[in-house]
Symmetry: C2
Subunit: 222 residues, 2 copies
């Protein structure tokens, strides 16, 4: 249920890497986890050697420098500085703006609060936070629809980090049944293309305990 973690898992999947996954509940503020990342945020990538790499886009830049540049036409970052800036703008849009206006609230209120103890912020969902996030999501879906209409993939002609940042975040909202796909058919068509990639399969088979996904969640043609 972390959009940035899903983004990094999809990127690693595209580069045919099989990371070992460790479950972390950031709100528990585990001492050993704070030592890796004092901001107590996810994701954190730990390589066999070297310091921990912290944060969705920071990990993506690191993976581009250590893997992507050797991938030729499978590289998920663009080739020119201006195109790369557009990829980065969109990754930030989905991992920061969508996160701070929509995803964070829906996940906290509908998922994490059930797992948190009262002193960690657990308890009943806040209906007004959910309402505000849903209203914001409509604007975001219109923007995804506009991007899908004006471009082949979200950042331009080629599949890029932007598609996996967007699809990673939207897959969480879709799991929770929050995405009104029928109002944005071109966004839906784009999402089906990304969702059909083998890198997506592991995400589609995982379940949150006690919260079944929406019926079409794992269907590639929905």
């Amino acid at each position: 249920m972390s959009a940035a973690s899903r983004f990094v898992r999809l990127v690693l999947g595209e580069y045919a890497e099989r990371p070992e996954l460790l479950d972390e509940r950031p709100w528990e503020r585990r001492r050993d986890f704070l030592a890796l990342n004092p901001a107590a945020t996810l994701p954190v990538l730990i390589e066999d050697s070297g310091p921990p790499i912290v944060g969705g886009m920071v990990i993506a830049e690191y993976l581009d420098e250590t893997r992507g540049v050797f991938q030729r036409d499978k590289r998920l970052q663009a080739e020119t500085p201006a195109e790369r800036a557009e990829v980065r703008r969109l990754v930030d849009w989905f991992l920061a703006k969508l996160e701070n206006e929509v995803t964070r609230y829906l996940v906290r209120e509908r998922v994490f609060k059930q797992e948190m103890r009262p002193e960690e912020g657990g308890g009943a969902p806040d209906a007004s936070a959910i309402r505000a996030a849903r209203a914001n999501l409509k604007h975001h879906m219109r923007y995804v629809g506009w991007l899908a209409e004006s471009r082949n993939w979200l950042s331009g002609d080629r599949l890029s980090y932007a598609d996996f940042a967007a699809a990673g975040a939207l897959s969480i909202l879709d799991y929770l049944g929050e995405v009104a796909w029928d109002t944005e058919p071109l966004a839906k068509e784009w999402y089906m293309r990304v969702k059909s990639r083998p890198s997506f399969r592991p995400l589609l088979t995982e379940r949150v305990r006690g919260i079944p996904p929406v019926a079409h969640y794992a269907e590639l043609d929905f």
Copy 2:
């Protein structure tokens, strides 16, 4: 009063570029500005040709690819992927985490609300938001002190983007008299070193209308 804009101005100053500056009040949501950046955030860099480059770190990455790589030992990004990840982690810390926990609130409540019309969110400052931001700032200053104690510059041996992201944000908080420098003498010593650079001079001479800076704001030895 935009930390990310100050960061980019400092970087451009370090690379001896003299950008033309345009004043923008994002809360006015000017149509032409939204066409450049639908997120309506600052900064936006416009080159003589090419699309607008949007966002503090996105601009910094772009400047590294178009200027920094030719700067040899004056380059503000590190040379290895792991060191670059640390620079990016810290830039994000100061432009996103510090911003969202401290800077945004103090600037909005103490500065922007005076310039906003009521329908834009203007009005009297919210004392509880100011109080919460000040409490958060204490933790951030301890972290800056720890970084300054354990490293020569914030991200390591060399001056980097991390120093200018941190100093750009802290210069705003310092202008408003919010920084208790005496409790973190090593952070103060580091800030004096950054503040003494010629790239900092333009920022130190500018004033917000109706809000004079704290007495030591422009002093290099305070």
